[in-house]
Symmetry: C2
Subunit: 173 residues, 2 copies
């Protein structure tokens, strides 16, 4: 009976893993970011949504912010600091008018994601990244990380959000 | 052996269901929409992100669009029409400036989700909703659906997107 139970749970686990497999391949083999050595996480596009934003001005972007299971749980529960392993991904696209939506709405007012611009990653590892608030950063354009100079700006830019563990995004409810 | 296999898969299914249970409760017991009888799907907030948008003008909203597994697969594969059971949720928030982000960026340019405004649902059932392109609609403010007059506008408004099975949103890649 014990052997059967072990078999049952082994198969159950396998079924769960298969059931949760994503439709698209990850990009975990890509080049890591300088300084931090952070890669684009596999299957990050399948993560749950934390929130959305709109960066006007020079950036002119429409980002969606996603989190892995650890990050999402911490966001929902209001847990600070985020636990080690929590990972947040900001996917940004150009903020472009939608001709189709506007025709339906009868006015110029709808903006949608245009060309993909950057994928920015924050990975929590309180020991490895102790010098930068416990976060490792990566800023990718396409599948290529930005240079060292760019990555030197990540942590200083995030310091105004120190009281929220250096995370600007809030969970959209 | 056959009985054991049935047991194995029954337990596997149960384990999967438990493993995929969300952190927050759904709102499946809420009042359904008029005309279509569509309720807010349980756990829709845990669905994957299809894309984001920005409705300027009078709406002044920042929506995030999510889809259940059937919808996400159809979006990714470019399958049209969407299969029965595909469900899309548009969660909209007011488009508000982020004081914290702007302080960090040194200029007024970041907008984030403010107060939640509407949750709009499209459920595909080609037989039940044959008269409206196979889609049942619901437009909720908080947990309360809008009135009949509002829901009479859903399908006509979506007809310009007929060649994409009445769905305006495209999958953001």
């Amino acid at each position: 009976m014990k052997r059967i139970l072990i078999l049952v749970f082994a198969i159950a686990t396998a079924v769960c893993v298969i059931a949760s497999m994503p439709f698209t391949a990850g990009r975990a083999d890509d080049e890591p970011s300088p300084i931090f050595g952070v890669k684009i996480p596999a299957q990050y596009r399948q993560w749950e949504m934390v929130g959305v934003s709109h960066e006007a001005g020079n950036l002119d972007e429409l980002p969606g912010i996603l989190g892995n299971a650890l990050a999402i749980k911490a966001f929902r529960d209001g847990t600070l600091p985020f636990p080690d392993g929590a990972t947040i991904a900001k996917l940004a696209w150009k903020h472009v008018p939608s001709v189709g939506d506007d025709a339906a709405l009868g006015s110029m007012q709808a903006f949608v994601p245009g060309t993909a611009t950057t994928v920015q990653i924050m990975v929590k590892d309180s020991k490895k990244y102790a010098a930068t608030g416990g976060w490792g950063f990566a800023d990718f354009m396409g599948e290529k990380p930005g240079d060292t100079a760019l990555h030197e700006t990540c942590f200083p830019c995030h310091t105004p959000a120190k009281d929220r563990d250096y995370v600007f995004t809030r969970y959209a409810r």
